[in-house]
Amino acid sequence: MSTTVVPTRSGVGTSARRVDGIPKVTGAFAYGSDLDAENSLWGFTLRSPYASARIRSIDVSAARRGEGVAAVLTADDLPARRTFGLEFCDQPILGDGVVRYVGEPVAIVAAESLEEARQAALAIVVDYEPLVPVTDMEEALRPDGPRVHDFGNILRHVHIVHGEPDSVEADVWVEGYYETATQDQAALGPEAGLAVPASDGGIDLYVATQWLHVDRQQIAPCLGLPEEKVRITLAGVGGAFGSREDVHMQIHASLLALKTGRPVRMSYGREESFHGHVHRHPSRTWIRYGAMRDGRLVACDVRLLLDGGAYASSSPAVISNASTFAPGPYEVPNVRVEGTVVYTNNPPCGAMRGFGAPQLCFAYEGAMDELAKKLGIESLELRLKNALHTGSVLPTGQVITGTAPVREVIEKLQAIPMPPDEPASGRDAISYPGGAGNVSRGESLRRGVGYAVGYKNIAYSEGFDDAAEATVTLRLGPDGPVASIRTAAVEYGQGLYTVLAQIVRSELDVEDVVVEPATTESGSAGSTSASRQTTMSGGAVLGACAEIKQELAKGPLEEPITRTYTYHHRPTTELDEHGQGDPHVGFAFAAERAVVEVDAELGLVRVVEIAAVQDAGRVMNPQGATGQVEGGTVMGLGLALMEELKLGDGAVRNASFTDYLIPTILDAPPIVSEFVEVPEPGAPFGVKGIGEMATVVVTAAVVAALRDATGLTLNRAPATPEDLVGIRPPATTTGPAPVPDVPGQKAIPEYLGMGLGQQELMKAREQ
């Protein structure tokens, strides 16, 4: 698609102000949790206290008699389909005979006030027969252990063989074992929305989510309604980071609204939020690189295990992503990857910024540093020697046809000056590790520097056509032309709507651009995830503008011109039996350098500075782009140093912001961010998505810097004070997890014919 960019005051390439900025700073912006309607009820969810249990009976009689109670529903009251799921319908709307994780919804209540709903939920008597849960991902692989689902504990296994990994001769081998913890997205806005029963028997749902149409596709069959009677409008979204890809309160609130005939609002508290959305998969990775004396990589063998928790969510796609990126952004001719995601009775895991890539980056970059040490080659030099480039062949056999400026990203990072050295003593106490805690005067201070390079795909993979529709209208206003954009794409803070408005301003030379509310009345724009919306919805808006420009070429604007355009990315393919194919649309790369100070006695860390370079194709909004790098960096820094959802017998032990720590402004370092702008062929404006890459690499970079500072092994993220003072030894393993016996590369629920979630949506589009 060719484009002519007409520079305007706030068009493409400028740091245009956010289109939703003013209501956000005044407090007027309406998030899901701010919504209310006349005569509304509050909904509340009763959740399972057991990781695995049979439900013998549920007595709701006392709850139904409760003050202010309008409805109490259990699985027995469900009107239609009883399960839902993003990719496979394996998740009960309400605990149906069994519960499989702590926090699984068992009953829902609607009452006049939130407190009355909560009290009624407490009055529900559930008779559980506790079962032995599976809470360890390696235990889940044992054939003789308990089963999470009747069909077993394997959710998907991905097998990739490229070259001849079994007969490689290498001068040097390194082997490593790495673990990452469960991370929570911890979006500040809770899961929330409002369901309003409509006069046609349908439902109008206002909700904070990531993809309106895939929500509707899951909700409608569970309500027994045709899709056109489920109309969804996007509510204000208080952050997402993957946590809103799965349905949370949507079906529950709609069921209660249809049952009572009254609007129902639901908004999770923080503790409930930790139970009410999926998390980042904890991982165990066994990795082995073989190299020649000159540093050339010749082999990589990776065994990878992810804990998917009780239900599938997007785990099948996450394991595929993670497996295909396993050897890192390097040319390796001989590769074997065995990647497994298992069901356990832990809380479900799914999408989170990076989508499987950060876990692997932590492993392959750790191993690359080991290899560099063993070879006596400077660590970035080793990476440059093996860097992917356009034309490189990936372990899946996919040839990179787009840009792959790995060398450029690394070299630009090397050119960023190091932060100045600081004296060990005599500084303001707040500048030491431990900072405002005032615990140091510079004793046992050790400085370290670490690097990581990584990459991730843009948009959906493995043959999925996640097309995006957008409509643009140009009309004459009282003071000149005005434009409006209608899209179902979700803005959750990353700045999509601002970028779409910038595209229209540049293309149609109009300053006044309005983005209309996102609803299911528009065609699907696909998910706001996978760093895809600037490419996909940007491409759709650009396409609509191009058609309007053709119309304008015929004569001056008189009547409004409206054009709808659907953008498709290039087709991709599934993986064959050897994990070969053309699974990904394109890739974006990043490199970060972390400089840290460690107080070796207290195990406290100060991140002195992060330098970040990202392959962006084209920077659409410089301020928004650096904002993505800075935010993504601090989120990944959280996983490096402090963020870990602690599970005991399957229960979340730290479901609060007191106990699950995310970085504060005191933890956040200065971040120097730069971009490599090599246009991606075929992409609108040559753009690449930028939301995830910083998060992919920074965890590995920070822990590498901690290793450099302390000389410790540190094979686990987060690296906590216990690790840094040596109280807790490195994570150990008895050897790689066994490769499960599976019928093929697809997710097991697919072989069993369980309803295909997102896939079904796309098939419907094709018909």
Binding site: V25, T26, G27, P190, G238, I430, G493, F657
Partner: protein, 154 residues
């Protein structure tokens, strides 16, 4: 129980449940939803407001404690179409993404600048340490406070 309270200059007589927080009073009774509920235990600062001039997490203050008090919220800042210098600085520097933390962050920043018109990086970090943001990585929030300080000084 019945309380009398002044919120953003308006006097209210409200019947509140004794277990209700000031945040619930603001949001559910008075319709002031600019103060956000994100943690319910004073960890995130999204509900920051002033009670008799003191910066508080309104989720930790019982509503009954607002009896006879003067409460100010984010809705009191700016006026008409005019933004407060801090609000404008947050937009100018790109310190807003999802925006859920923003009202609380803005209130805490205004409070800081009212006490200290020229804060250093360290002072800003200490003052905003009780306000969590998950989107921005905080760098642009620091920029915003510095910019607002400069704007207010000129």
């Amino acid at each position: 129980m019945k309380i009398h309270t002044t919120v953003n200059g308006l006097e209210h007589e409200v019947d509140v449940w004794p277990g209700a927080s000031l945040l619930a009073l603001l949001r559910d009774e008075l319709g002031l939803s600019g103060s956000k509920n994100a943690c319910e235990q004073g960890e995130c600062g999204s509900c920051s407001a002033w009670v008799d001039g003191e910066l508080v997490c309104s989720c930790l203050v019982p509503a009954v404690q607002a009896d006879g008090a003067v409460v100010r919220t984010v809705e009191s800042l700016g006026g008409g179409d005019r933004l407060h210098a801090v609000q404008d600085a947050f937009l100018a520097t790109g310190a807003v993404q999802c925006g859920f933390c923003t009202p609380g962050m803005v209130v805490a920043a205004v409070d800081l600048l009212e006490r200290n018109p020229e804060p250093s990086d360290e002072t800003i970090r200490e003052a905003l340490a009780g306000n969590l943001c998950r989107c921005t990585g905080y760098q642009k929030i620091l920029d915003a406070v510095h910019l607002a300080a400069a704007e207010l000084a000129s």
